[in-house]
């Protein structure tokens, strides 16, 4: 597989902790660094804090302590920094979260016009290009409710890409899909990975992890139990808990 070389660090996560108001410790002294063009796959049992980690990265969840630095910008209480970071990070959700009152095309155009201040013509041509890339070009005037789950998720990916983000976050992007639709979404994600997009994916698709990831993180109880390249991780896990988890789902 031809892949672009990994670059310098784009995200630094230092010692972050996050406890939910109900007392659940979601993240505990969590540290990791992510390079440009790196594809990181995060796996782990449910409730292990994978999604919380992803949601902390773009400030959807507030961290209690520690620091997150994205491309030199600290994610702190300054609204400006937060918005700046969110503009550079695309996010794809498990439940798609498309805007149901807008057509597919409007969904993809919206942020370009409002946030990037692109003209309507530019936004439209960028959107058409992306929708073609994800294979939805003949549904641009449909509403999300008229599409299948797989199609909706591909639109959601196009919507995130329209902001020309430096990093893409995938939060269990295929978990809510019918089995026959998982492939079409994974294909789009693989294409992105091969194009050199920096990606952090929370997923249960171990095949995907093996095929495209540069680094696999196994989490449990809010901590990184083990991290490694896909090759090492799957063939030769060190930790007992990792072995147990893999034996359960493989």
């Amino acid at each position: 597989m031809t892949k672009m070389k990994l670059g310098d660090y784009i995200i630094n996560v230092n010692n972050i902790c996050k406890t939910f108001p109900n007392g659940v410790k979601a993240l505990c002294n969590f540290t990791t660094n992510i390079r440009r063009a790196e594809v990181v796959v995060v796996i782990g049992p449910s409730g292990s804090g994978k999604s919380t980690f992803l949601r902390c990265l773009n400030g959807l969840e507030e961290i209690d302590s520690g620091e997150i630095i994205f491309d030199g910008i600290p994610l702190d209480h300054h609204k400006e920094n937060r918005l700046k970071i969110r503009r550079e990070m695309g996010m794809v959700f498990q439940s798609f979260n498309l805007f149901p009152h807008m057509t597919v095309l409007e969904n993809v155009m919206l942020a370009q016009q409002l946030v990037r201040k692109s003209s309507k013509t530019v936004a439209k041509s960028v959107s058409m290009e992306l929708l073609e890339k994800v294979g939805i070009q003949d549904k641009i005037d449909s509403y999300p409710g008229q599409l299948s789950g797989g199609q909706q998720q591909r639109v959601a990916i196009a919507r995130a890409l329209a902001m020309k983000p430096k990093v893409m976050l995938f939060d269990e992007a295929t978990s809510a899909l019918d089995p026959e639709m998982i492939g079409e979404v994974l294909d789009v994600m693989k294409t992105l990975a091969n194009e050199g997009m920096t990606m952090i994916c929370v997923t249960h698709e171990l095949g995907f992890a093996q095929e495209v990831s540069d680094w696999v993180i196994f989490m449990d109880e809010g901590k990184i139990i083990e991290g490694g390249t896909a090759e090492h991780f799957f063939s030769d896990p060190k930790e007992e808990r990792t072995k147990h988890f893999l034996s359960q789902i493989l």
Binding site: R87, L110, A160
Partner: protein, 279 residues
């Protein structure tokens, strides 16, 4: 899709056949309706005759309008209707605005904003409209130098706005959290998120209860007669005091209110169908 589906082709041929389907009369429904209405009318007529009421319906038209030498003059009731409609549409716009602002304040991060909205809401909702009308007319109006009609409009809007704000708020919080998150993840500001994502969806959801509230507003506008604003109910009271045609006049204005409120709910129902979101 521009492709004509087989179903659509079928539809265009059907009318002749469809005629019989359409003309199938729902006999049971009609009988039931006739019985119910007949029963109600019987009770009313019976009640009136027991009381020895002397019906004078022929007296009513001149209070609606007069036609003399080809000139059409509005009678007191329809003049009152004009005032009622005037009060209603201004109060309606103010109600929606006040309601929306209050709902947004209650959902904001600002403690002062939330407190202010809460105090207003509880005061307006938990005291009688008639007291608020008197308060605004006798206490606030002289200070601000506003007239009777405007006091009535303000009092109505503040009262109904409190209910409207709860309706808006319920619509906003009923939207899935994912809509906020998707919008935030795209870097949209809070203002843009409300403007483009949240409110367009919330308003569609709350159209039915908002319609009920507007109908309440129209009916509640009859209460402003207590501060002698000559709207329809006030005019009716005046005519009744003079002529003792209580049933005829009150039934007439009830019918007029009914016509206005039913047309309004029909218009909104049309809007609702138009903006229906396919979730």
């Amino acid at each position: 899709m521009n492709v004509v589906s087989p179903d659509m082709k079928l539809c265009s041929k059907v009318p002749e056949k469809n005629f019989f389907v359409m003309s199938k009369i729902p006999i049971k429904d009609i009988i039931a309706y006739t019985l119910v209405m007949g029963g109600i009318i019987f009770i009313i007529l019976r009640g009136a005759s027991e009381q020895g009421y002397f019906w004078q319906w022929f007296q009513v038209p001149k209070y609606l309008f007069t036609l003399e030498d080809g000139t059409f003059t509005l009678g007191p009731l329809l003049q009152g209707l004009k005032v009622t409609l005037n009060i209603t549409w201004i109060a309606m716009i103010l109600t929606y605005t006040i309601g929306l602002i209050t709902a947004l304040l209650r959902l904001s991060d600002s403690i002062v904003g939330r407190l202010f909205a809460r105090v207003y809401l509880e005061t307006a909702r938990n005291t009688p409209l008639i007291v608020q009308l008197f308060f605004i007319y006798f206490v606030v109006a002289p200070v601000l130098g506003i007239d009777r009609l405007f006091s009535a409009i303000i009092a109505l809007s503040l009262f109904e706005g409190a209910y409207a704000s709860e309706i808006y708020r319920s619509g906003i919080v009923s939207l899935p959290k994912g809509q906020w998150e998707a919008s935030h993840s795209l870097g949209l500001s809070r203002f843009d998120t409300y403007r483009k994502i949240i409110l367009p969806q919330a308003v569609r959801r709350v159209l039915p209860p908002l319609t009920s509230q507007t109908i309440s507003l129209i009916k509640d506008s009859s209460l402003v007669s207590v501060i002698a604003v000559y709207e329809m109910t006030m005019q009716a009271n005046a005519i009744v005091a003079e002529t003792f045609l209580s049933f005829e006049i009150y039934f007439t204005i009830a019918a007029i209110y009914l016509v206005i409120t039913i047309s309004l709910s029909q218009v909104i129902a049309l809007l609702e169908r138009r903006f229906k979101v396919n979730n």
